[in-house]
């Protein structure tokens, strides 16, 4: 039988690994590169370019070069509204319809584009191993829902793989970490990549890895930080307009990314983009402090997720023996500080954040191939699963963080006399109302014997297999009539619908964004002025005189800019005030932590 390879299909980069003599190792491409950028050039749909080759022509073929397609895998139109990701290609899909990508004169399902990346990795592995490879373990963010998992599996199949297993990225990373570092204990895996964030709490006991809880955000990562830097750069160059210049947008994104990466080791970075657009060049110096203020609120979002994961595992932060950092964005010093603060200890940076997930996938591939028979992974389902019942409520059948595989069932009944069919609406999510959760599918069980309401007994059984994919069985216990359903990925749409949606997408792009932005900036500026005044009143005496003066100056500048209609001027003034108040905010956060520690009862 052929070898099984492990693939980390990342938002920004993908990596492939294989078990070799009991140790997982990364497979390099023909040029010796260990990371393949998850970028696909579709200018010629019949000869797609993948990785570095696609990146090289990205500026020239901006609309036909697809990066970060993972963000759209298994998603529906209404989920991507307000998606602030920086991208130069068009995506379409409204309401319930599956999102599609437009490139190279046609539309693509996101999994088709991802399949191109997987095909390249497959070819690299075959060249390296000198044998055909047709079996793979592919990783997904732990917080991916059922549709996103199914889309990933489909991408693997389109690339010619038998997908032996879909596994969770943080769990895979933990497997790679624990193999030689830990024999017993509880670890937290903090995984912040290009587009997604996961936090998992895992108990390691000998060779068994048992996930205790997991949570995350499938729309938070390095891409968002790039976007923030891009906005800042444009604010610094108000005379440059790139809104209609896709090549300039691509170059701007590259510069933003370079600045972000450099600031992990440097205190300041000089951005210089000659002749960016309309013959004008962009020059600006971004300091680490400014960069951190740009991304602080997004990084803070991960704090809440960490606390949630700890609560779900019934653990206090002290119980965590090591915090493992995975994903390129964990190189950012601010991210490391936030992690250290939440868990009360310095994170463990001994694994390579770019490769750990692929290596773990390689280990799991080895387990499935039978070569690593004593290692076992017990994973959980990240989101609750259930069905809609009376009053539009979600009835949970399998709660989140249940160890998989699992089976669970419940009995339901009819609501109306003589009812002959029941509609079963399968849901995934944590909200109380059915409508607020993700719809995995709807089906109806017919041929129920006509009886008064409340008499028929309909058993609904959910099975989650080891891939984390759901199978549903409904059975009328009186007649024995049953229906087995495997939840499918988001619905397909017809070509005519696609055409219609392309036109609509173009029409909507002309909305007066500018005006809305000004109003939003004015509101938040007003809030900042009040907050700063309050902060100075309480903690102003802790500041040096020069700091105090700087804040006062910046405060006045915002106050003056707030009633005008110069959006850029207002943004600059706000940014200056934000930077000036960083240390004051730090003082207050530290004070709050101290208060809380004092309030905590000692046990």
């Amino acid at each position: 039988m052929s070898k099984i390879i492990g693939i980390d299909l990342g938002t920004t980069n993908s990596v492939v690994a294989v078990m070799d003599l009991g140790v997982p190792s990364v497979i390099p491409d023909a040029e010796g590169r260990r990371l393949t950028p998850s970028v696909v050039g579709l200018a010629d749909p019949d000869a797609p370019l993948v990785g570095v080759a696609a990146q090289r022509q990205a500026a020239v073929h901006a609309t036909d070069t697809v990066a970060s397609v993972k963000r759209f895998m298994g998603r529906r139109g209404d989920e991507i509204e307000g998606e602030a990701m920086a991208r130069t290609y068009t995506v379409i899909g409204k309401g319930d319809a599956a999102v599609k990508v437009v490139a190279g004169g046609r539309t693509w399902a996101p999994e088709e584009v991802a399949a191109k990346v997987l095909e390249k990795l497959k070819a690299d592995a075959e060249r390296y191993l000198e044998e055909p490879v047709s079996r793979a373990v592919i990783t997904v963010p732990a917080y991916f829902n059922d549709a996103q998992r199914a889309a990933t599996k489909r991408a693997g199949e389109l690339a010619g793989f038998t997908v032996e297993r879909i596994i969770n990225e943080p769990t895979a990373a933990c497997l790679a970490y624990g193999m030689d570092r830990m024999k017993q204990g509880v670890v937290a895996v903090y995984d912040l990549g290009g587009g997604t964030f996961d936090i998992s709490i895992v108990e390691i006991r000998g060779n068994v890895f048992k996930v205790l809880s997991t949570t995350g955000n499938t729309r938070l990562g390095g891409d968002d930080f790039d976007r923030s830097v891009m906005d800042w750069l444009l604010m610094k160059a108000p005379d440059i307009d790139v809104s209609a210049d896709l090549e300039a947008q691509t170059r701007l994104k590259e510069a933003a990314e370079a600045a972000k990466c450099a600031l992990s080791t440097q205190e300041a970075f000089e951005v210089a983009i000659p002749f960016l657009s309309g013959g004008k060049s962009l020059n600006a110096v971004l300091t680490r402090a400014t960069f951190e203020s740009l991304i602080a609120s997004r990084v803070d979002e991960t704090r809440a997720a960490c606390l949630q994961a700890l609560h779900d595992a019934s653990l206090e932060p002290e119980a965590i023996e090591a915090v493992i950092l995975v994903g390129g964005s964990t190189r950012i010093p601010l991210v490391r500080r936030v992690v250290a603060q939440v868990f009360g200890k310095e994170p463990d940076t001994s694994v390579n954040p770019d490769e750990a997930v692929a290596l773990g996938a390689g280990v799991q591939a080895g387990i499935l191939a039978g070569g690593v028979s004593d290692t076992l992974l017990l994973d959980v389902t990240p989101l609750s699963l259930g069905i809609e019942t009376f009053g539009g409520l979600m009835n949970v059948i399998i709660p989140r963080n249940t160890t998989i595989p699992t089976k669970a069932g419940e009995l339901f009944t009819t609501a109306v006399d003589g009812q002959k069919a029941v509609n079963i609406h399968v849901l995934q999510g944590e909200r109380e109302m059915a409508g607020d959760n993700w719809t995995l599918g709807r089906f109806s069980l017919e041929g129920i014997e006509a009886q008064p309401a409340g008499i028929p007994r309909i058993g609904v059984q959910f099975t989650i297999d080891a891939d984390g994919i759901l199978h549903v069985l409904a059975r009328d216990t009186a007649t024995g009539k049953e229906k087995v359903v495997r939840m499918k990925a988001a619905v397909d749409i017809s070509d005519a619908d696609v055409e219609h949606m392309v036109q609509q997408a173009v029409a909507h792009a002309r909305a007066d964004v500018q005006k809305r932005q000004l109003v939003e900036a004015q509101l938040s500026a007003d809030e900042m002025l009040r907050a700063t005044a309050k902060a100075l009143e309480r903690y102003g005496d802790r500041l040096e005189a020069t700091e105090r003066q700087r804040i006062d100056r910046a405060w006045k500048a915002v106050k003056e800019a707030i009633d005008g209609d110069d959006l850029n001027g207002l943004k600059e003034a706000k940014q200056a005030l934000d930077e000036a108040t960083q240390r004051l905010a730090d003082i207050m956060f530290a004070e709050a932590v101290k208060d809380r520690a004092a309030a905590k009862p000692h046990e």
């Binding site: 609560h311 799991q364 076992l376 160890t403 309050k534 960083q582 905010a585 207050m588 709050a592």
Partner: protein
């Protein structure tokens, strides 16, 4: 470990344990298998959690689908079912509330109803938490999301917020004390378990008290969750 005798589907011989000793296939577990027996335990109020976990991990090593990928399709289907039972069984027995409900269900031959009345013994705690939650909700409702770090810092040091977090920490500690008290009582009842015989009034009285304790745990669990949720909502 207590033996479970089942007929092997593959070769028909009667076997104990999880594997057929004759042909080495995974044996099926019946749908409503007794979770205590699954882990080789006597049904009783308390379990040794560490020993239970060790047994669970040991059985999982043998019976997880990942370690049976090369098996024939029929065995694989069986493995999925057995593995799901193991996972459910472990989750049920390791958690005191779930374990007590399961034990009571076995004694009464039907699953006990979900707790829907606040047990008298934690009424006072319940109302204190309830009142605080309402205050916190009002506070959260009036609060706007901070758009800048300085605004977040001001919110962080808000007097009400600090007071609420203190109150929550206090109630969390009291909830933990109640949890510990229930565990202590379960341990005492477990010691008395062997002195009573099935079908006697004494045993029935004991089971009745276990049912009450399961309800107390259910409510304590809810209190713990709402305290944690409000704490999280306040902190972020």
């Amino acid at each position: 470990m207590k033996e479970i005798k089942v007929k092997c589907l593959s070769c028909g011989s009667l076997e104990g344990g999880d594997f057929c000793g004759t042909c080495h296939t995974v044996l099926p577990i019946e749908q409503d298998v007794d979770y205590f027996r699954l882990f080789g335990l006597e049904p009783r109020p308390a379990v040794d959690r560490e020993a239970l976990k060790a047994t669970f991990l040991d059985l999982s090593q043998k019976l997880h689908p990942d370690h049976n990928v090369q098996a024939d399709p029929e065995t694989r289907v069986r493995v999925l079912g057995v593995s799901a039972q193991l996972n459910r069984g472990y989750t049920t027995l390791v958690d005191t509330k779930e374990r007590l409900r399961y034990l009571v269900g076995k004694a009464h031959d039907e699953e006990p109803a979900e707790a829907n009345r606040v047990p008298h013994e934690i009424m006072e705690l319940f109302f204190e938490v309830h009142d605080l939650m309402q205050e916190v909700d009002a506070h959260l409702k009036a609060r706007k999301p901070a758009a800048s770090r300085i605004a977040a810092a001001v919110a962080e040091t808000d007097v009400d917020k600090v007071r609420f977090l203190d109150a929550i920490a206090g109630l969390k500690a009291r909830t933990r004390e109640r949890f510990a008290a229930v565990e202590d009582e379960v341990a005492k009842l477990d010691a008395a378990w062997d002195a009573t015989r099935e079908g006697t009034g004494e045993r029935e009285k004991l089971v009745g008290r276990l049912a009450e304790l399961a309800d107390v745990l259910a409510y304590l669990g809810r209190l713990k969750t709402s305290l944690a949720q409000k704490e999280l909502a306040l902190s972020t």
